[in-house]
Amino acid sequence: MTSSLNTEFAARGVLTCSPARSQGKMTPYSNCYAQRSYPMPDEPFCTELSAEQQALKEKEKGSWAQLSQAEKVALYRLQFHQTFAEMNRRSNEWKTVMGCVFFFVGITALVIWWERVYVFPKKPITLTDERKAQQLQRLLDMKSNPVQGLAAHWDYERKEWKK
C-alpha cells in the first residue's frame, strides 16, 4: 500500500517538505510529530508550501469529492509526517533495553559479591546451625501453629517430620 503513496505529488512533496521547527536528529515530541498517544499534532507537517502545494491547498477549500486519490494522499502527506501504520511500526529497541538491563544487573551482582567478601561483618552467633536447631526444638515444644503450621507437620510420636 505504501508504494501507492509515491505519486507525482507525494514524491516531490515529501522531499521538499520541512517541518515547522527543525529539532535536529532527536525524535521530537512536539507540535508537528504525532505519536500514538497524541495522534493529532498541533501544526501541519509541511508549512513551507511550493506553488503546486499552495494550489492544492486552495483546491482543498472546495468540495472534496473533486479531489483525486493522489491529491488526497498528497494532502495527507502535507499534513502528517507519517501514516498510522508507519508511526506504530514495531522496532527492535526492546532487545537493546533488555540487554542493558541484564548488563547492569550483572555489574550489581559483582559489586555485591565484592561486598560479601570484604565489607560484611561476621554473622551473629544465633545463626549457627546448633543455635538454629535449638530454636526449632523450642518452637516444636511450644506446639506453635499446631493446626496448619509448623507443629502440624511434626510427628511427636516418632520425633520426625511427617511424610
Binding site: 523450642r138 515444644d141 493446626v147
Partner: protein, 75 residues
C-alpha cells in the same frame, strides 16, 4: 475510491465493544477467584480446625509442654 483489497474497518462502537469484552471477562475472573478461594482456602481451613479440635485434649497438651520445659511459671 478504495483499492478494493481492504474491507472498511469498524469506525464506531470501538469503546463499547472493548468494554463489553473486558467487563464480562472481569466478572468471570472475579467470580472464579472468589469460588476458588472459598473452596480451596476457606473451607479447607475450617475443616482442618474442626478435625484438630475434635479429638483435642488440652490437659494432655499442657502436660507435654510442661515436661518439655518451656514454661516460666511452672516446672
Amino acid at each position: 475510491m478504495a483499492s478494493g483489497a481492504l474491507a472498511k474497518p469498524p469506525m464506531r462502537g470501538l469503546l463499547a465493544k472493548r468494554l463489553r469484552f473486558h467487563i464480562v471477562g472481569a466478572v468471570i475472573v472475579a467470580l472464579g477467584a472468589a469460588t476458588f478461594y472459598r473452596f480451596g482456602v476457606a473451607e479447607q481451613r475450617k475443616k482442618a480446625y474442626a478435625d484438630f479440635y475434635r479429638s483435642y485434649d488440652s490437659m494432655k497438651d499442657f502436660e507435654e509442654m510442661r515436661k518439655a520445659g518451656i514454661f516460666q511459671s511452672t516446672k
